[in-house]
């Protein structure tokens, strides 16, 4: 038996042979899985099928060329691509009707598409993890990575997809355990903010970073030199540079991620008003409020986020006796929000940020640029959403919707048979006002039946309002 080690060329040849054979088999399987899921499943919208087609066409074309055209040095990259795109099929599978709060899907997708001012398609699917998230954009991601393969027939790929250039696909996830809790789904406003914020990041963040980089680097370098790490004499200066480079990357990541999250919060609260703040407060209450971004995957501390949300909502938190605001149906919600204001007077989150050079630099960067960024991003919203949603401007209508919930009637329209379907924002504001009212009057409110009734009424309200709006569009009153 020959036990001598394989030479480098022999090892490369072994790799190539196995990779080519096995990747072909995997691509064949992936293409078939993507096709099967389109035939066998039932979805609330056509978007999951579009993603399945994207996956299927990509796998099919890679498979077609992998045995003959793909050079050996591309096989490792193709393997990485398969690793990326195969798990995307789970978004399709999980978007089945039985898995989603289907009655809110269409109205939510319409609002998300409208707010993102795009031809975006949204898959809405549950996840067992307790969080809301958005992943995407899929079409451009596939196009970008496939363009690295010089031999890949991109034109054929585009033609088979039958997607226009500006069409895009995102997947929004919500916690499975909260499927019916539509009050919390206000968080989708934050998620759609990601689409707008991503545009701003692509257009501006790099330039801002390049402008600020030298100053940040010099302060970090000074800090690093206070405690120079030991190293190989061959790399004496490079060791310092590596340490600075590591901290610069951490700073950039903390700055970018922090800015993105805070801006998305801003978009969410701009679209949904106090409901978005209420959802964030309820969510934040489950976790520690002052955890450093360095210990929480670069997310800003909850207290910091709530403080910024509350600042945006300030006009809705003040009494206005002239207009009778807040009225009795809303007062409990406002009082609850005011507790949030007291919560954010403590500044431990800021002390934590200040005490570390990475977060200090990152949040100085954020503070310098967030207002300008928020202004630019808000201006990307369609004209109908240009003004922030303010509860004090809607409180009379909200009060009527709260009354409907109290009577066990879905809050789908302002007044009965009024030809005036309530907006998703109004319905969710009413739902939050109702919930906080009930809790204020009876702190033990909230048994499963009471929650179930509230959720079902609100979901039905969303569905009816959507149907009514669509009917109005198709049959305008002359």
């Amino acid at each position: 038996m020959n036990s001598s080690p394989l030479s480098r060329p022999d090892e490369a040849s072994w790799h190539e042979k196995v990779r080519r054979r096995e990747l072909f088999r995997c691509l064949d399987n992936l293409a078939r899985l993507a096709n099967n899921v389109q035939i066998t499943e039932d979805f609330a919208s056509k978007t999951p099928l579009k993603l399945a087609t994207l996956i299927g066409v990509t796998a099919e074309l890679l498979k077609k060329h992998i045995l003959t055209i793909a050079p050996s040095q591309d096989l490792e990259q193709i393997n990485t691509m398969i690793g990326f795109i195969t798990p995307h099929l789970r978004y399709v599978e999980r978007a089945r009707v039985a898995q989603t709060p289907w009655s809110i899907i269409q109205s939510a997708e319409e609002l998300l598409r409208f707010a993102s001012n795009s031809k975006s398609y949204f898959i809405i699917r549950p996840t067992w993890a307790y969080n809301y998230s958005i992943i995407g954009e899929f079409v451009s991601f596939y196009r970008e990575i496939l363009s690295c393969l010089a031999w890949f027939p991109l034109d054929e790929w585009k033609a088979k997809l039958e997607l226009n250039n500006d069409e895009s696909i995102y997947c929004i996830s919500f916690p499975r355990i909260e499927r019916d809790n539509c009050l919390l789904h206000v968080n989708w406003g934050h998620e759609v903010g990601h689409i707008l914020v991503e545009r701003w990041i692509n257009d501006y963040f790099g330039t801002l970073w390049a402008t600020n980089e030298a100053g940040i680097k010099s302060r970090i370098e000074e800090h690093v030199k206070q405690n120079i790490p030991p190293g190989d004499p061959l790399f004496k200066e490079l060791v310092i540079q590596e340490a600075v480079a590591n901290q610069m990357r951490s700073t950039m990541e903390a700055a970018r991620h922090g800015l993105v999250e805070l801006l998305c919060d801003r978009i969410g609260v701009h679209i949904f008003g106090l409901s978005a703040l209420a959802a964030s407060m309820e969510f934040a209450a489950r976790f520690a409020l002052d955890v450093s971004p360095l210990q929480s995957s670069n997310y800003p501390p909850w207290r910091y986020r709530l403080r910024m949300l509350l600042q945006h909502c300030a006009p809705d938190l003040n009494d206005n006796k002239e207009i009778g605001y807040p009225n009795a149906d809303i007062r409990a919600l406002i009082e609850w929000m005011r507790t949030g204001q007291r919560l954010t007077q403590t500044r431990i989150d800021i002390q934590n940020i200040e005490s570390n050079v990475i977060t200090r630099e990152a949040y100085n960067f954020i503070s310098s640029h967030i207002d300008g960024a928020a202004q630019t991003i808000t201006s990307m919203l369609p004209i109908e959403l240009a003004r922030p949603y303010r509860l004090h401007e809607r409180h009379v209508f909200i009060s009527q919707l709260v009354s409907r919930i109290r009577k066990g009637v879905p809050p789908n329209e302002i007044c009965h048979l009024s030809d005036n379907p309530a907006s998703l924002q109004d319905i969710l504001s009413a739902a939050w006002a109702f919930k906080m009212n009930e809790i204020a009057e009876n702190p033990s409110w909230g048994n499963p039946n009471e929650y179930d009734l509230l959720f079902r009424l609100v979901l039905k309200g969303c569905e009816c309002s959507y149907v009514q709006s669509e009917w109005k569009k198709r049959h305008p009153i002359e």
Binding site: Q77, C148, Y204, F205, G206, P229, P233, Q295, I358
Partner: protein
Amino acid sequence: MGKGFNMENLGLVAELFKTSSRFARAATTLEKMAAGKKEIESPDQEALQWSGNFLFVLDWNAKTQSSNPVTGNFALQATAVRPTFYSCLFRMAQQIRDAGMSDEKQLKTFLINFYNTLLSTAKKSSKKKGKLNSNQLKLGALILHEVSKSILVQINNNGLPQPSATLKDEWKPTTNELEPTFAPR
């Protein structure tokens, strides 16, 4: 929203994938040149050109020698990849010594010559290989391969599950986050 509310950053992954892919292509081209190949195809030339320009931004010692202004996205990409680049150099200490370099000054000079060679090779035919000999071209190719693979491992975790529930280090407010990256010789 808790730790979530996140956007899985496919854009960043795509950027890193492209960077890795371009470095891999440039490395393969250099290997072919070192083996005597004369003609360079257009996509390979682009990869060499891009790699040369990017390395001038990536390597702080070389940055001052480049006359090209650094655009925003290039600066971001460089910030993301720079620690990987330095780590790769540290891991290749033996190969660097084997190539006859014994101090940092020689290494810096080699690297700058290497970047210039990438740019000049991209512009001219491969008959003029810049200032590097065949062995040095191979070393350059090795560095690019190493960085390319390291970036790929960063985004695909080498096929292993992404650690989702591992314990994190305690956060220390006064530290400058430094850990020795390797034991001194």
